[in-house]
């Protein structure tokens, strides 16, 4: 057990160095720097003299080659310093801390809803496999699965924020809250919830279609096994056979799926957060790349990589819980 964790730790650290080094190299070699982006956004009439530019390049470490810059970033990281955002003039850790909550609100709710709906849906689909109602619902789920989120988001915005404006069904077009920070606590919670409905819907419907198909496929695989015949020969009813004997065995692949969804849980979705102007992690990532904000890009890359590795570790540990044949030794 201890050797297992030690091995995973060493492997994980190596992976992190490779990923962050690769991303740092890519980011630094993208055309443009934080300075050119800022220059492009400032008033062309204002002149910045070359000495000032050179001084800023030094401050941001842009005068050094990328391997040297990466070594410095790594050195700072070992001291617990993720650096300061160039475009936002804030420590990267603080930026990330601010964005975790909103992203988690959307992704966590969506993940919970997805599993709450897709597990019964998968069970239902496999119990009624091949019948008309199952075929119809599967077709609907396929259509949903292939329907792009950004199109669905725009439709939902038109329907709920434009057509239904002024009715009880009206929902906010974008943003996370319309109320000032000093509004009553309960009113603010309600307001954020109303703003979250459309983004959560958008993020849920695609994974819902995917997960329920995944559960159904795995259940159908399990139902063909010999031990299912044994369970039926024992006198177990169809429901008990499906849930107790078959579904219990599909938990093994499901745990992998759950482990893979951990980074997305905090990472949020770039597209959905961008469309709904949701102040989350995905949008921060997208903007930091556009602004060539190297410290923020690196901070977020590190966070996603750590979460991905942790998700895999979590999945491996859950394997041992759901499958007695697996042991970490």
């Amino acid at each position: 057990m201890a050797t297992y964790f030690l091995r995973r730790l060493l492997l994980g650290l190596t992976t992190l160095v490779v990923i962050t080094g690769f991303v740092y190299g890519l980011a630094r070699n993208m055309p443009g720097t934080p300075l050119t982006v800022q220059l492009g956004e400032t008033d062309p009439s204002r002149k910045i003299n070359p000495e000032d530019q050179e001084r800023l390049r030094k401050i941001y470490g842009l005068d050094k080659s990328w391997p040297v810059g990466y070594a410095q970033w790594l050195g700072n990281l070992l001291q617990g310093d993720l650096g300061r955002s160039i475009s936002r003039k804030q420590p990267v850790t603080q930026l990330i801390a601010e964005r975790i909550g909103p992203s988690f609100l959307i992704s966590g709710t969506s993940l919970l809803l997805t599993w709450l709906i897709s597990v019964p849906l998968g069970l239902y689909a496999s119990a009624r496999s091949g019948r008309f109602d199952e075929r119809a619902s599967s077709l609907l789920l396929y259509v949903l699965y292939s329907f792009p989120t950004f199109v669905a988001a725009l439709f939902l915005q038109i329907i709920f924020a434009v057509w239904l404006r002024g009715t009880a069904w009206e929902l906010p077009l974008f943003g996370m809250s319309d109320l000032p920070a000093d509004a009553p606590w309960l009113a603010r919670v309600g307001d954020v919830a109303r703003h979250a409905i459309l983004p959560v819907t958008c993020q849920t419907y695609v994974s819902l279609a995917y997960d329920s198909r995944f559960i159904k496929a795995n259940l159908e695989e399990a139902v063909r096994q010999d031990y299912i015949r044994t369970a039926r020969a024992k006198g177990a009813g169809p429901w008990r056979v499906l849930v107790h004997h078959a579904f219990r065995n599909t938990l093994i692949p499901l745990v992998t799926l759950l482990g893979l969804s951990l980074p997305a849980l905090i990472g949020g979705s770039v597209i959905i957060e961008q469309i709904f102007t949701w102040p989350g992690m995905g949008r921060l990532f997208f903007e930091s790349i556009r602004e060539r904000d190297y410290p923020t890009i690196m901070g977020l890359t590190l966070m996603f990589s750590v979460l991905t590795l942790l998700g895999q570790l979590l999945a491996d540990m859950l394997y041992c819980v759901v499958d007695p044949r697996v042991s970490l030794d």
Binding site: Q225, D226, Y227, R229, T230, A231, R232, A233, K234, G235, A236, G237, H245, R248, N249, V322, D323, P324, R325
Partner: protein
């Protein structure tokens, strides 16, 4: 209309109500390629407390017959006709038409089942104890503790080493023979009157096979449970069974007490099967006897007696038999490809599905056949 030769009785005798009587069972699979009648008119009976061996080659329908009894035939298979009369507790149930909820109380409760593959027949994610206890809890109103105690008792009964420790182990921690003992414990947990064992030893080592068969015989003697043993191994039948039913191409061709069948086989297929066995008393060396041809696929079952294309005794009007000989058809006898021979009794308890069972001459013993080489 084809005239049939006179036969004394056309169904097994009502000596006393048999525990299980299968009558003209038809189980067919409806595939895109057409209807495949895997079991096509099987009739056989099992007496209380006795062991019936069902033998036949792969694809003869013996497993489908067993699965039909518990109605576990997987889709697209369906029981299409026939009766499966199970006499239990003073009442007779027709398992072919019994409603599903009532059927569930029969499965595992009054009829236990043991499968061929002990490696895959136990659920990998539950402990052995839980899986046996589940069988008890499904049929008895007892507490979890009582069910667990019963599971322990069953593991002791099937003589699994360290039963107390095994109770909390998972199937992957046990060997094939141990798992088959667990399967037997599970099948017997609710004191069933009948246990169906579908090739219970085929997947095991020879030494383990003997142990499992010995255990089954011993439990039968101790608990009085009737056993249906499905096998393709005549040696297993000879050692463990009281009665034997021989199946060929979806039908029972001969049923008799084991001693009678081995001493006086009457159906040409049975005679061939017995002759194909190597025996320790064989005088000459050389190739073993074989039955010419192949088992027909259900899609291509021949008309009339299904064995006639391979039968050395087949009588066809002027045509060649399977062995190439032309046998003249005696006056008043039916050609073998004209009608399905009925299962009829040729000696007390000895049933044969052959037109010519009586005219085949004096019955020969298996030793004689093996020595003489009937089909060579």
């Amino acid at each position: 209309m084809i005239e049939r030769p006179p036969h004394p009785r056309l169904s097994p005798p009502p000596r006393h109500a048999p525990l299980l009587a299968i009558k003209n069972l038809v189980t067919a699979f409806h595939t895109p390629a057409g209807r495949i009648p895997a079991v096509d008119g099987v009739s056989l009976s099992i007496e209380r407390g006795r062991t019936l061996g069902i033998v036949g080659e792969s694809g003869c329908g013996k497993s489908v017959t067993a699965m039909s009894v518990l109605r576990l035939v997987a889709s697209p298979g369906r029981i299409e006709a026939g009766e499966i009369l199970f006499s239990s507790g003073g009442t007779t149930l027709d398992l072919a038409t019994l409603p599903e909820p009532a059927m569930r109380s029969v499965r595992g409760g009054r009829i236990g089942m043991i499968f061929q593959e002990p490696m895959t027949s136990l659920n990998p994610v539950f402990t052995v104890g839980d899986q046996i206890a589940e069988a008890v809890l499904l049929h008895r109103r007892v507490s979890r503790e009582a069910a667990r105690a019963r599971a322990l008792e069953m593991l002791q009964l099937v003589r699994l080493a360290d039963p107390r420790q095994r109770l909390d182990e998972y199937p992957h921690q046990l060997s094939g023979g141990m798992r088959q003992r667990v399967m037997i414990a599970m099948a017997l947990a609710c004191d069933p009157e009948l246990v169906i064992a579908d090739e219970p030893t085929t997947a095991l080592d020879v030494t383990i096979q003997a142990q499992i068969l010995e255990l089954l015989s011993e439990l039968r003697a101790r608990l009085g449970t009737a056993i249906v043993l499905i096998t393709h191994d005549l040696g297993v039948v000879a050692e463990t069974c009281d009665d034997v039913a021989v199946m060929y191409a979806g039908r029972v061709v001969e049923q008799a007490p084991a001693a009678e069948l081995f001493a006086r086989p009457r159906h040409p297929y049975t005679i061939g099967l017995l002759a194909a066995r190597p025996s320790p008393g064989m005088k000459h060396s050389g190739p073993l006897c074989t039955i010419p041809g192949m088992v027909p696929l259900p899609q291509h079952f021949p008309a009339g007696c299904r064995f006639h294309p391979r039968c050395a005794y087949a009588r066809l009007p002027g045509a060649e038999s399977g062995s190439g000989r032309v046998v003249p058809l005696p006056a008043g006898e039916l050609p073998c490809n004209a009608a399905v021979p009925p299962l009829h009794e040729v000696a007390p308890g000895h049933w044969v599905r052959c037109f010519h069972a009586e005219s085949l001459g004096p019955p020969r013993s298996a030793q004689e056949i093996a020595a003489g080489g009937l089909f060579s």
